[in-house]
Each structure stands twice: as C-alpha cells, then as structure tokens.
C-alpha cells in the first residue's frame, strides 16, 4: 500500500530479533541435526530419521490442536488423559469385534470414530466450562486431566486391552509407497491446519480473539462458541493421537500418554507460539515436536541416562520461553 500523508510511519524494518523469532526454530533444528550427525554415525540413517518422525507423530498430532487453543490464549492440560481414554474406547470396541464377527475395515473405522468422538466431547466440555462456567481453562483442563484418566482406568479396569487386529495396527506400521502412514497423517493434518488458520475466517478469528477478545466480540463474533469449537477440535486431535498411540502399541494401556501435556505444550512453545495468545504458526509446532523427539533420540544415542532427558526437556521449554520473552521485550511494542 502506498504511503500518502506525511507522517505515516515507514513500514518498520525487520530487525534481527524478529527474524530470530520467525526462523530461530529452523536454525536450532538444523544445528541439532548437524551436531548429532557428527556425534553419532547412526543418526543420519534414513531409518533413524523416519523413526524419529513416526515417534514424534503422536505428540505432533495432538499439538496441532493445542496450538489453536494456545493461540486463543487458553491452555489444555488434559490432552494426555483424553488421548488415553480415546485409545481405550477405540480398543474396547475393536476387542468386541471378533466375537460378533466384525473385523473389517468398517468396524475399525467405527472404533476410531468412537475414539475421536470421545475426544471431541471431552474437548467441548473443557470449552463450555471455560467460557460459560467462567473457570480459567488452566483449572478446567487440570480437572479434566484427572477425570479422563480416572475414566480410562474405570473403563479398562486398570488392565491393558490387547488383540486389536491387523487392520488397526496398519495405521501405525503401514506405509503408503515408501512413506509410513503416521507421516502421511501428519502432513495432511498440518496442511489442513495451516490452511484453516491462515486462509479462513474462523482461523482469523482464532488469532484475533487470542489477541483482543473484546474487540472480536464487539465486532459481532460469537467468541464463546468459537472457543468451545476450538477446544472440541483439540479434543478430537487428542483422540486421534490416542488412536495412533494405541495402534503403535498394539494395545490400549490405561496409563498411556501420562504426562504428555508437557511434551505437547513444549512442542507448541518451541515452535514459537506465544502462550499469551494471538501469535504463532501451526507448522512450527510440527518442527517443535520433531525437535523434541530429536533431543530424546539424540540423548538416547549418546547413552545419556533417562533421568537427564526429563531435566533437558523441561529446561528446553523454559529456555525457549525466556528467549522469546527477551526478544519480544527488546523489540518493544505490544508484541506479547
């Protein structure tokens, strides 16, 4: 757009801080890959890299939804438990199949849909309690973390569910051409999520409401409904993550995905999405999830004790947040 009147400010030039905020994650990812390749000869093997991506896929699927929740300046701590419950429900239905002579792809599809529906329902409850119950989402989803885990334990009787059939395990272990199915799912999901956020009206409202909720409401947008919808979507994707995990483990474990909220939020934060809402890019969440998996994988290859991995993961999140805050503050403006 042309600048007409005198005094109209020049478009602010992008200084190094903004560039660091925009591309830092890619540089860190690349640096990590280089260092690992030098330290461990096995690291750059295609099998190892594909493995990393497949291992990252469950957290990454869930993190796509959590990114949207965080863009709205809300949080979802319940995703790990919701994933476990969705996986258990799917497994429970699959387990019933053989006795009733139902083993086909249709039955598998139905079981998966049931898992996703459970995720959507619990997500919608999270959203409803947040916007209409007036409880901060931090507390609502902390409660849901406990409730969904309890429901999972009740449903499974505290025991794993096995015998889910070959068709179901192909979700995690099958390939389309040379590409593992989970990676195909990731690419499709993240493409859709990015298109949704950056090209659609609702996507714009997600960003806008995360920045200035009141302004969006005054513009006539039903922000409460939007939030409930996004929480439901995040629940659905948590359910999808749970289904993927169940397929990979070829069983539903009642304690599956415990503590995953940390990994998921770490992926989102590493990807540069602001915990204050309104800023971020979903594609970078995928990079964040890959980076987290790379870190664990690298520490494994280097024979670092597992306890250190926990410390590293937590430290990385805090470092990323401090880094982002320092850069935004130095740049000034209303960036947070």
């Amino acid at each position: 757009m042309r600048e007409t009147a005198a005094g109209a400010r020049e478009r602010p030039s992008r200084d190094w801080r903004e560039i660091a905020l925009d591309y830092g994650i890619y540089v860190i990812l690349l640096a990590f890959v280089v260092v690992m390749a030098l330290l461990s000869p096995n690291f750059l093997q295609a099998r190892n890299l594909l493995n990393i991506a497949v291992q990252a896929s469950t957290v990454a699927v869930i993190a796509a939804g959590t990114t949207m929740v965080i863009l709205l300046a809300e949080i979802d701590l319940s995703v790990g438990s919701v994933a476990a419950l969705a996986g258990a429900v799917t497994a429970g239905i699959l387990e019933l199949g053989p006795a009733a002579g139902l083993t086909g792809v249709g039955w598998v599809g139905l079981a998966i849909l049931a898992g996703l529906a459970i995720g959507a329902a619990l997500g919608a409850v999270n959203g409803a309690l947040t916007v209409w119950g007036g409880i901060p989402s931090f507390i609502v989803t902390l409660g849901m973390l406990s409730v969904a885990r309890g429901l999972t334990l009740l449903y499974t009787g505290g025991r794993p569910i096995f015998g889910l059939g070959d068709a179901f395990s192909r979700i995690a272990y099958g390939t389309i051409g040379p590409v593992p199915v989970p990676i195909v799912i990731l690419v499709v999901l993240y493409t859709l999520a990015a298109l949704f956020l950056h090209t659609t009206q609702l996507g714009r409202y997600v960003y806008a409401a995360g920045t200035n909720r009141r302004a969006v409401a005054l513009a006539g947008v039903n922000v409460n409904r939007l939030k409930v919808g996004v929480f439901a979507l995040a629940g659905t994707l948590a359910g999808l993550g749970g289904v993927l995990l169940t397929s990979r483990l070829d069983s539903a474990q009642p304690t599956a995905a415990t503590g995953w909220e940390l990994d998921v939020i770490a992926a989102v934060v590493l990807g540069g999405t602001s915990l204050y809402g309104g800023r971020g890019a979903v594609v970078k969440t995928l990079v964040g999830a890959l980076l987290l998996q790379l870190i664990s994988n690298g520490l494994n290859l280097l024979n670092v004790q597992a306890y250190w991995q926990q410390i590293t993961k937590g430290g990385v999140i805090l470092a990323a947040l401090l880094f982002e805050r320092a850069l935004r503050r130095a740049r000034g403006g209303s960036a947070m």
Partner: protein, 273 residues
C-alpha cells in the same frame, strides 16, 4: 478532515414517515451491575443529522449509556426507539445491523492483524465457503480498505503491517474507517481524542460535523469540554447515573457545563461558578 464522502446514509435523504421523529429515543433506561445502579432512568434523544455531546464525571454513566446503545450492555429497563421502531439492542451485531457503529475509546483493534483485517473484522469478504469454513478474500479486503481510507482522506498504514505497530492517529483512522464502512445512521465516538496528539485531535474533531452534514447522527463523549462545545448541537450531562441537564450548545457556556457536571453546590464551593 476533508470531505469523507461516505455517500448518503441509508436513513437520511428520503424523509420517511417517521422523519420528524428523532433517530434515537431512549426513555427511562436503567442498567444495574450487581447492586450498583449505573443508569437510573436516563432519557435521551438524538435528532437526525445532529451531534449530541455526552459529558459527566468519571462514573457518571456515560460509558454505560453508550454501551446500551451499541449493544455491549443491554439495558435492564426502559425503552429504546431507533429509526421509528422500538428495538431491543441485545448485541453489538444487532446494533451494527440497524445502523449504529461505535468507535471505542481504546479503539477495540486487534493489534496482531493489519488495517484491512481490522476494518473488516466480523464482516470479512469471503471467496467461498463450506459450512462454517469460509475462505477469506484477502486481496479484495485489502483493496477496499485502501479505497475507503483514501476516500476518508485518512493516513494509510502500509498493508500487512500489524496495527499494533501504527501510530495513535493511524490506529484511530483504522477504527473510524471500520465504523463508517457500513454507512451507519448513528456513530458513537467515545473519547475520540484522548489518545491523540493535538494536531491529530483537531482532525478527528472535524469528523462529527462532516458526518452531521451528511445526515448521520453522532454521539460524542469527551472529557475535553471545549471540544464538546465546539462540535455539538446539544449537550447532555450525566451525574451519578442520572441525566441532570440537556442543553442547546449555542446557549451553553463552559461554566454552565462544569456546574452541571460537578453539581451546583460543590461547584460554588470550589469556586468554579
């Protein structure tokens, strides 16, 4: 401000049957927040093409009153007639639909999106859609926003620049453009100059008269009483949730206003009047 040329508003020009009635008539408006009576039976009318000033001390009820009109706080009691019909303004969306636009004191802009995004917030131009998923036509919004800002003679922020990076005057321009885009019948300006430098403020203060000349009614809230005296036809004074004066600006002095705002006894005691 040069001629905004926003065209004849749909309500002006053709004198309707209700043409002799005021555009907005509020009677006995009551609004409570918990136990606090924010508006205690306020009546107010705004003629077509006139500028009405709303003044009063902090907490007098000015903001609450305009929020009743703009749909942000539906009233608890009283009646409201707009453009000849009795209405219940239950939401900001409904207010916009019947032709009431508001420029809020804090501008209600979304800092992380650009000028066009803010101007079209809530009424985006879409390319196509399936159910609730509608694909934005960013280019057309960009073009329309540029035309609109240009026609209003307002400073143009670069496209794509987040409004959080703009100056106070530019941000105000964006907020005003958004309000005028739909050719409203009534524009509410809430403290339009409070965040502006003096030269920017003078420009913004030309807006009410320009709009009135085109038949658009304006309600303006300001703490700067001289500004209110300069640009209004009538001034309504609120105190503690009640209307204490409804004055023709021509016959009103600054001293009169101060007296009504603070209450006559206190004004005398403090040596205002």
């Amino acid at each position: 401000m040069p001629d905004p040329a926003i065209g004849p508003p749909s309500g002006a020009g053709e004198p309707p049957a209700a043409g002799t009635q005021p555009l907005l008539q509020m009677e006995n408006i009551v609004k409570r927040f918990g136990g606090v009576l924010a508006l205690d039976g306020v009546s107010l009318s705004v003629e077509r093409g006139s500028v009405v000033g709303l003044v009063g001390d902090n907490g007098a009820g000015k903001s609450t009153l305009i929020k009743v009109v703009s749909g942000a706080h539906p009233p608890d009691g009283g009646t409201l007639r707009f453009d000849g019909a009795r209405v219940r303004i239950a939401s900001p969306r409904f207010a916009k639909e019947i032709g009431i636009e508001t420029v809020y004191q804090d501008l209600a802009l979304v800092d992380t999106i650009d000028a066009a995004g803010n101007i079209f917030l809530g009424r985006e131009i879409v390319r196509f859609g399936a159910g609730p998923v509608k694909v934005l036509n960013k280019r057309r919004m960009q073009r329309s926003a540029r035309e609109l800002l240009g026609r209003l003679g307002l400073e143009l922020p670069s496209s794509g620049t987040e409004v959080g990076m703009l100056s106070g005057g530019q941000r105000q321009s964006v907020a005003i453009s958004r309000a005028l885009y739909t050719r409203p019948k009534l524009v509410i300006l809430d403290e339009p100059t409070s965040a502006l430098a003096v030269t920017e403020a003078r420009k913004v203060l030309e807006l009410p008269r320009t709009l009135a000349a085109q038949g658009v009614s304006v309600i303006i809230i300001s703490h700067t009483l001289q500004d209110v005296l300069d640009v209004t036809d009538r001034i309504v004074v609120l105190r503690k949730g009640r209307k204490v004066a409804d004055l023709a600006t021509r016959e009103t002095s600054l001293e009169d206003l101060v007296t009504y705002i603070v209450g006559s006894e206190r004004a005398k005691g403090a040596g205002y009047a």
